[in-house]
């Protein structure tokens, strides 16, 4: 074998190494040093250790420039993957900040350790262009998230949600794996770019189509697109709220990023055609169908929800539908960079917004539950948090000048411009805009309860810690600033995409 330097590897994997060491440190600090300390102090210590590790990892990611493609895509490190990793670690940090006052478990060290391992899995997922690494990293992320979902052992719902997530996830993993093995067999390689080269010009073989559909099913599960979404509402509702926030943000960012790479790089050449009345087999029509189904069912089902966590889950399903438009925009190799930029901007801002929304839900939960009724008169009980809630909900609905609006704007223009001249996907964009209008209804329902409805007689003011106030305010500020000055985020994304040569 040619010279293979483990030192280089350690250098490339610096941030991941830091997080793994942090996970061990969190475990040992909690199990060793703080064994008999009161619970709140242990949460604080564990969170502090995790936050320190996360900050170090971000420092490394932003200061050490590295670019490498190791062993045919087993590990790809370039400015784009580094940027997405910064986003992932930032989401981890916000999740940690929201867990500090948690009471759902006594196993603090294990909790932070698993949060970190899930994030490391996502980071590996982001920097691989090889089906084997993708599968293994996907499993690391999924397994950690199954465990985190079932983490609240006092609650019946938590165990049940974990099991459902696990069963659906297991079937999806089997489908992904079978699809990936067929692709390996057909192309004779495990590297995404080599797969595309080897398959070029072979046309649409039936076995290749089967493989494509199986891979889409597997990833469709991870991003919770209809009809593979059945786990999502239960998992969001049953999981401890910070864990649900990570599932809804970080896991989604990583899954979408790698899904886009698999489709745009691995299946380049068999896009097919999704334009109105010009359908041709390939991945574009398949994803377009998923997008339509997700937007339709997600938005309509969200209207009927009374639990706000479930409402957020269905809204996440609808947003997965919008994000699929970004993937579709990548079907044209010349416009791929635009689609990727729009997608990364959208998933980043969506992730930040959704963490914030879960943070508010967690505070409301302390006053009794997460149903819409518990939000009644919330603005009078906790004004600052209610304002944050308004920012998050309006951003999710896509109201200007918040980040959600610009995300949708870039995504939809990228999708509409994917086929210059004939506006092939315009029908899908029009449908998406119509559906965003529908979604406004249920987001406003939540806000109406919080700001207009009178509080119940027995309503108590929730206890909000300083860290929670700070985190929510930061998130709301980010949503406003990124909406008002989208170039702050879009500029670095565009530079990174150009430098990565995507």
């Amino acid at each position: 074998m040619n010279a293979f330097s483990y030192l280089d590897l350690l250098n490339l994997l610096g941030p991941e190494t830091i997080l793994v060491l942090t996970s061990l440190a969190a475990l040992f600090v909690d199990l060793g040093a703080l064994r008999d300390q009161p619970l709140p102090r242990r949460w604080l210590a564990g969170g502090g250790v995790t936050a320190l590790g996360g900050l170090l990892a971000i420092l490394w990611l932003t200061n050490v420039t590295a670019q490498a493609n190791l062993a045919h895509g087993i590990l790809v490190v370039d400015p784009l993957t580094q940027l997405v990793k910064v986003v992932l670690v930032a989401m981890l940090l916000f999740t940690v900040a929201l867990s500090l006052r948690a009471e759902f478990t006594e196993h603090v060290g294990e909790y932070f350790c698993l949060l970190l391992l899930a994030t490391v899995g996502m980071m590996f997922l982001v920097s691989s262009e090889d089906v084997l690494t993708i599968f293994v990293a996907l499993e690391l992320t999924s397994l950690s998230l199954y465990i985190l979902t079932a983490f609240n052992k006092r609650s019946l719902v938590s165990a049940e949600a974990g099991l459902k997530y696990f069963l659906f996830g297991g079937v999806a993993a089997a489908f992904t794996l079978f699809g990936l093995s067929l692709i390996y067999g057909l192309a004779g390689s495990t590297n995404l770019r080599e797969i595309a080269t080897n398959l070029a010009g072979k046309g649409t073989d039936p076995l290749l189509m089967v493989a494509l559909i199986m891979v889409v099913m597997g990833f469709g599960f991870k991003i919770a697109a209809v009809p593979f979404h059945l786990w999502a509402p239960d998992a969001y509702q049953g999981a401890p709220t910070p864990a649900a926030a990570l599932i809804a943000s970080g896991s989604k960012v990583a899954s979408f990023f790698v899904f886009a790479k698999v489709m745009a790089l691995g299946f380049a050449g068999i896009e097919g055609n999704g334009a109105w009345r010009q359908f041709a087999p390939g991945w574009v029509p398949v994803l377009a169908t998923l997008a339509v189904a997700s937007m339709l069912l997600g938005n309509l089902a969200a209207i009927a929800q009374s639990s706000v966590k479930r409402l957020l889950a269905y809204s996440a399903i609808a947003h997965a539908g919008y994000m699929l438009l970004g993937l579709l925009a990548m079907s044209n190799p010349h416009r791929r960079a635009d689609g990727m930029a729009a997608l990364v901007y959208y998933i980043t801002t969506y992730g930040l917004t959704t963490i914030g929304a879960f943070g508010v839900v967690q505070i409301v939960e302390r006053t009794g539950g997460d149903s819409l009724e518990n939000f009644a008169g919330f603005s009078r009980r906790a004004p600052l948090v209610a304002v944050c809630l308004m920012v998050f909900m309006l951003s999710l609905a896509g109201i200007p000048p918040l980040a959600g609006f610009f995300g949708k704007f870039y995504l939809f223009t990228a999708a509409a411009g994917a086929e210059p001249g004939n506006l092939g996907l315009l029908w899908l964009v029009i449908f998406a805009i119509a559906m965003s209008a529908v979604s406004l209804y249920y987001y406003l329902q939540v806000l109406k309860r919080a700001f207009v409805a009178a509080p119940a007689e027995a309503a108590i003011a929730p206890v909000v810690s300083f860290m929670e106030r700070l985190t929510l305010a930061l998130l709301a500020l980010a949503v406003v600033v990124l909406g008002a000055l989208p170039a702050w985020l879009l500029g670095p994304i565009a530079d990174a995409i150009k430098a990565a040569g995507f």
């Binding site: 074998m1 293979f4 483990y6 590897l9 994997l13 793994v20 475990l27 064994r35 190791l70 062993a71 045919h72 087993i74 590990l75 006594e106 196993h107 294990e110 350790c113 698993l114 391992l117 899930a118 490391v120 899995g121 590996f124 691989s128 084997l132 690494t133 293994v136 990293a137 499993e139 690391l140 397994l143 950690s144 199954y146 465990i147 079932a150 983490f151 052992k153 006092r154 974990g162 067999g185 057909l186 072979k202 073989d205 039936p206 076995l207 290749l208 189509m209 089967v210």
Partner: protein, 168 residues
């Protein structure tokens, strides 16, 4: 070679099918274990000795045993008095038949699958090990983390929580 393959294939599928039909859970586990073993034998007919033995060690030695232990822990062996399957079982059979049909027809009609058998590879355990430590060292590291997470999670989830709220 030919009859050997046919026998092993039949054994794999028949025992898998039996596991799907039997009521007694221990019998199911036994059938699945037989299916695992015959799969390992199929791997041997494909000159994949190392993977075949790993299959027997892990699946038969660990997975099947673990499943039997879980069956005993949940004390629900016979399944008497309850229906075996969901009521709309025709739906399941329909989906299964659809998947099987489309997969098999795709395999038989694909232009990729009619290939000459290349000469047997000189794949040794040494080569496998070398590629694990060089080309595939990153997935190997991820697997290490995966096992850590699984170990931690399994212990945490399966252990009895003491009711008082104190630490056990």
């Amino acid at each position: 070679m030919h009859t050997g393959f046919l026998l092993l294939a039949l054994l794999t599928l028949a025992s898998a099918g039996a596991a799907m039909c039997l009521r007694n859970l221990v019998h199911c586990a036994l059938c699945v274990a037989i299916s695992f073993v015959s799969l390992a034998a199929l791997f041997l007919t494909l000159d994949a000795e190392f993977v075949g033995f790993a299959q027997i060690l892990v699946y038969v030695g660990a997975v099947a045993i673990l499943i039997v232990i879980a069956i005993l822990l949940t004390r629900d062996i016979s399944g008497h008095g309850q229906s075996l399957v969901f009521k709309p079982w025709t739906l399941g059979v329909g989906v299964g038949a659809l998947v099987a049909g489309s997969l098999v027809s795709a395999v038989t009609s694909s232009a990729f699958t009619h290939r000459e058998l290349p000469p047997a590879p000189a794949a040794t355990v040494r080569q496998l090990g070398e590629s694990l430590m060089t080309t595939y060292v990153v997935p190997l590291e991820i697997i290490g983390l995966l096992l850590t997470a699984a170990l931690l999670g399994a212990v945490l989830l399966a252990r009895r929580e003491n009711e008082g709220g104190g630490r056990s």
